[in-house]
């Protein structure tokens, strides 16, 4: 995911100075922060929402919130952790809102009951796309904290210390949640992967 991640690591002092300028309404400073972190925020949002447009909305919302709350950042803490935490909360809210909307506005009957004239999957792709779909579904059904740790570790490629800062949990808890997530995924995907449960 390195090409998706921000171009460079940012010094804490530089971030603090940019945030100060943002509080004074400095547009350039705000744009610099966005350029530095927009792709990381996108990865976080997309990992949770799995929809490009929704993820872009969440990215915009995250930075708008940052603009309003730049003064709440406490120097000494990880800025990236703080920002990703905001992105995570916004994405989860958006995910729940969409889920609720779907529940409210869609009928309970699955769409499959009404066959649509969709193109059938090509034979060669079907096995791998089945596995991918099963994998995505299984990650979705993990308990929320396990899911978040798994997403941050494998999609955002964050270290456990960064995950612990973002989720405000200890490194040990992050590792334990990750272990449980992997075990649960292994259990759920055993039939698809052809391994013993």
């Amino acid at each position: 995911m390195s090409e998706v991640s921000a171009g460079r690591e940012v010094e804490a002092a530089e971030v603090a100075s940019l945030l100060e300028k943002i509080q004074e309404g400095d547009r350039e400073a705000f744009m610099t922060i966005i350029k530095l972190y927009q792709q990381k925020v996108f990865v976080m949002a997309y990992s949770i929402l799995r929809d490009r447009e929704d993820a872009l909305d969440a990215v915009q919302e995250t930075f708008l919130r940052l603009y309003q709350k730049a003064g709440l950042y406490r120097p000494g803490n990880s800025f990236q952790g703080w920002l990703l935490q905001m992105a995570k909360n916004i994405s989860i809210d958006s995910y729940r809102k969409h889920q609720r909307k779907r529940r409210d506005w869609e009928t309970t009957k699955p769409l499959d009951e009404i066959p649509v004239a969709a193109e059938p999957a090509r034979d060669g792709d079907s096995a791998s796309s089945d596995l991918r779909a099963a994998f995505a579904r299984s990650v979705d059904t993990l308990a929320e904290r396990q899911k978040l740790v798994f997403i941050m570790r494998h999609y955002n490629e964050l270290q456990f210390n960064e995950i612990s800062q973002t989720l405000k949990i200890s490194i040990g808890t992050a590792k334990s949640l990750h272990f449980k997530a992997v075990q649960n995924l292994r259990k759920r995907l055993a039939p698809v992967l052809g391994i013993e449960p």
Binding site: M1, I34, Y46, Q60, W105, I114, S128, V139, R186, I195
Partner: protein
């Protein structure tokens, strides 16, 4: 570690299973990479910065200035007093609304405000009605085709293609609403109908019997009438 895995077959199998599982994360990462590659990252900061500045200006305009209204700050500090005052204001307003004589209001009273949620619901209801309307009109056009293929009265082909073109235009407008409110089932059926209308819209002359039969076969095979009725019913019942 390698030594351990060589000796213990169970551990090796377990390690392989976990490795295989984690390989699947790569497919999701590649999906994310693909989605990220299609974003214009150079333009996004400008868009967000513009939005932030507009939102900031609006907030600044709306924020009450407590320095110029010191008594307002006092109210905030005394919830009981504030509650009492609010009760008086609301009560007076309710009395006014209940007892005022009806009459012509001036222009200012015509303005009204609605919550975002209310507007969302209203838009959803509009989307539902538009979809039901589209489906009903589509049914009529399809019935015309059916009657042309059978023995019923025939609608001129030019009229039929004109109607199909109208409905295609309507569908363009409907697409946004269907997607916005994630009416997946309705969209699926509307998309199928749209495919048929694209063909019909291009034919101003009478269709040969074989062609009519083919369209009829398509409609029957996919049970379009049944599905249209089901989706209409669901939309009308507001499920």
């Amino acid at each position: 570690m390698d030594e351990h895995l060589e000796k213990h077959l169970e551990s090796r199998a377990e390690a392989e299973a976990i490795e295989r599982l984690l390989r699947e994360t790569e497919s999701v990462r590649s999906e994310i990479r693909q989605a990220a590659a299609s974003v214009n990252w150079d333009a996004l900061p400008t868009v967000i910065a513009d939005r932030a500045l507009v939102a900031g200006d609006k907030a600044a305009r709306q924020a009450p200035d407590s320095r110029s209204w010191p008594w307002l700050a006092a109210f905030r500090m005394k919830p009981v007093l504030a509650g009492l005052a609010a009760g008086l204001v609301v009560g007076a307003a309710a009395m006014y609304l209940a007892l005022r004589t009806p009459g012509v209001r001036d222009g200012r009273d015509n303005a009204y405000y609605a919550s975002g949620e209310f507007l969302d619901r209203a838009e959803l209801e509009m989307a539902r009605r538009n979809t039901v309307d589209y489906l009903e009109k589509s049914q009529y056009v399809l019935l015309d085709v059916f009657e042309s293929a059978g023995e019923g009265p025939v609608v001129p082909a030019s009229v039929r293609s004109e109607r199909a073109r109208d409905l295609l235009q309507k569908k363009q407008y409907l697409n946004g609403q269907l997607e916005r409110f994630q009416m997946a089932k309705a969209k699926a059926i509307c998309d199928q109908i749209e495919m048929l209308f694209r063909e019909l819209a291009q034919i101003d002359d009478e269709l040969p019997a074989a062609e009519l039969g083919r369209i009829r076969g398509y409609v029957e095979e996919r049970q379009l009438f049944l599905k249209i009725n089901l989706v209409k019913k669901e939309l009308q019942s507001g499920v």
